[in-house]
């Protein structure tokens, strides 16, 4: 089951402007086409981009 953009936003407590729904659909589809299939990108690489820094910020100081 796939939710519409309107349902998806309403589930988050957000009421989209009715005039925006068509534009949101077009823009979202545009983003999906930019994403393509990510072929050649090491998505499951062990060295992840989002890091946890033990000890908090600026531990190096």
């Amino acid at each position: 089951m796939s939710l519409s953009i309107q349902q998806l936003l309403e589930n988050k407590g957000i009421t989209p402007k009715p005039e925006h729904l068509e534009l949101l659909k077009t823009r979202w589809e545009g983003m999906q086409s930019l994403r393509s299939n990510l072929e050649g990108i090491a998505i499951d690489d062990a060295d992840i981009a989002v890091r946890s820094i033990p000890g908090g910020d600026h531990i190096d100081n």
Partner: protein
């Protein structure tokens, strides 16, 4: 008996023969240091021009006339007593209205924050104050920095000083227009997908996005935490170098700030680019570019080759995913910041940014994390490229400034989406965090064209030196806008 100011004789000569508001910091600083020009007269001249130009370009959100003049008198005494601090001592300047000033309203050019008062100064404000800068006011921006037109629904559009019907670019459009016109001697902007470099290119000034972590963002209202930067917007490359030297440096209050010594950027500007290796990426940075923009940028590159630089063509395959990664990251982070207001008071946002916040609710956590992995790969490829070349050169924008109110840009006779195209060449440096400088390199008709120089992390001195070589080789570098001729 009335006391005679030591400046009186010299001032009459200067004000009668020159336009102070058109001068750069590198021209004004020696006059201030040698006590030939009083900071009070300079501040008054800039404020007078800023107020006179406001109905034309609408670059200011607020004027601080009385306190600026009071502060200028204090600064005048400091200089007269022999305590000249350096290049920016006595320079009047207004800043983008997302940088906090203690006990002052900071609006982000929004309706929701129209009465927001910070109880502390942003780190960059504190540093500029200590350097002797005189604040003349706050400058307009695209609402919450989330757009590139500066066509603000609450405070009116900012107009491009080169053509009042055109956008100044954004989101730091007030800073771009004010510096280009002369309503602020220099300024600071913030940059999440190009918001320093876009208005700098569109308004014909210099804009520097430093390395992520080089300048503290403490006291700057965020747009997207991992992509935001603060940097100089100035009339010349040397002005940008001097300004960066003041605002750079470690700050424990900004978790993204990195503790690396500050270079003497001005000293690195020699203009010598012999044996410099320039990287050119044709597939991404020279694809779908306005023919006149491309011609001007390639001509500038040729002028660098004539001065002894070499060109190497480079490939950066993962750049094909850069637009997607930039959009997912910026949209998601911005939506997270404004989520609660989007639920409770969506009608208080301008229509364009409300749409972007709604769009930012759509990517999944998986999309966001995959975008970060893409980002990491792009960073790695750029690191490898900088083992082969010293800098990359690209157009800053694929087009020149568009007409206020249009949501499209003209690209070689075709109408193309404005926002997607404007951030195409600037966005990758926000993903990588690498330093990038926009320098004027020519005109299409009356509209400025910018050239972008990207360098390795923390090599701001290098890109400033290349920018200086571009600036000096530009035969139109002395051309100035005249907003009062544009009626």
């Amino acid at each position: 008996m009335m006391q005679t100011s030591p400046y009186v004789v010299f001032l009459e000569v200067i004000t009668l023969t020159t336009d102070l508001h058109l001068k750069s910091v590198e021209e004004l600083a020696p006059l201030l240091a040698s006590k030939t020009l009083s900071p009070v007269e300079l501040t008054k001249a800039i404020l007078d021009f800023a107020e006179e130009s406001q109905p034309k370009i609408n670059s200011y959100m607020a004027f601080y006339r009385e306190e600026a003049l009071a502060r200028a008198k204090e600064v005048e005494q400091e200089i007269l007593q022999g305590h000249y601090k350096g290049m920016y001592h006595g320079i009047p300047m207004a800043l983008k209205d997302n940088l906090y000033f203690k006990d002052k309203i900071t609006t982000m050019s929004s309706k929701i924050h129209k009465d927001f008062v910070s109880d502390y100064d942003a780190t960059v404000v504190e540093k500029l104050r200590d350097a002797g800068v005189i604040f003349t006011g706050k400058l307009s921006m695209h609402e919450y920095a989330w757009g590139i037109t500066n066509n603000n629904p609450h405070y009116g559009p900012v107009c491009n000083p080169w053509d009042l019907d055109k956008i100044p670019g954004g989101s730091s459009g007030g800073s771009g227009a004010a510096v280009a016109a002369g309503a602020s001697v220099a300024s600071l902007g913030t940059d999440t997908a190009g918001s320093i470099r876009i208005p700098s290119s569109a308004c014909g000034i210099v804009g520097l996005k430093p390395t992520h972590g080089r300048v503290s963002k403490y006291g700057c209202y965020p747009l997207a935490w991992s992509l935001d930067h603060i940097g100089p917007m100035t009339k010349t490359v040397k002005d940008a170098a001097g300004l960066l030297e003041i605002i750079a440096g470690f700050d424990h209050r900004d978790p993204t700030c990195i503790d690396i010594p500050i270079d003497n950027y001005e000293k690195q500007i020699t203009g010598n680019i012999k044996d410099l290796v320039i990287g050119i990426n044709e597939e991404y940075f020279f694809k779908n570019v306005d023919a006149d923009v491309e011609k001007a940028v390639r001509a500038s590159i040729q002028s660098l080759v004539d001065q002894g630089a070499k060109v190497e063509v480079v490939r950066i395959p993962s750049l094909q995913y850069a637009e997607w990664a930039e959009l997912v990251t910026s949209l998601s982070e911005a939506a997270a910041i404004h989520h609660s207001d989007l639920q409770k008071r969506p009608q208080d946002f301008g229509d364009d940014i409300r749409l972007l916040f709604e769009l930012g609710e759509l990517p999944s956590a998986v999309d966001y994390l995959q975008a970060q992995q893409v980002r990491r790969q792009i960073k790695q490829e750029f690191t490898e490229i900088f083992n082969e070349v010293d800098v990359l050169i690209t157009p800053t924008l694929p087009v020149v400034a568009s007409t206020i109110g249009d949501d499209f840009a003209e690209l070689n006779g075709q109408k193309v989406d404005l926002i997607d195209n404007i951030i195409r060449f600037t966005g990758p440096s926000n993903l990588t965090g690498l330093p990038a400088l926009s320098v004027p390199c020519g005109f299409k008709g009356n509209l400025p064209i910018g050239l972008q120089i990207i360098g390795p992390a923390f090599k701001e001195g290098r890109i400033l030196n290349v920018g200086y070589a571009v600036e000096q080789a530009n035969p139109q570098r002395t051309r100035k806008p005249n907003i009062f001729a544009n009626i």
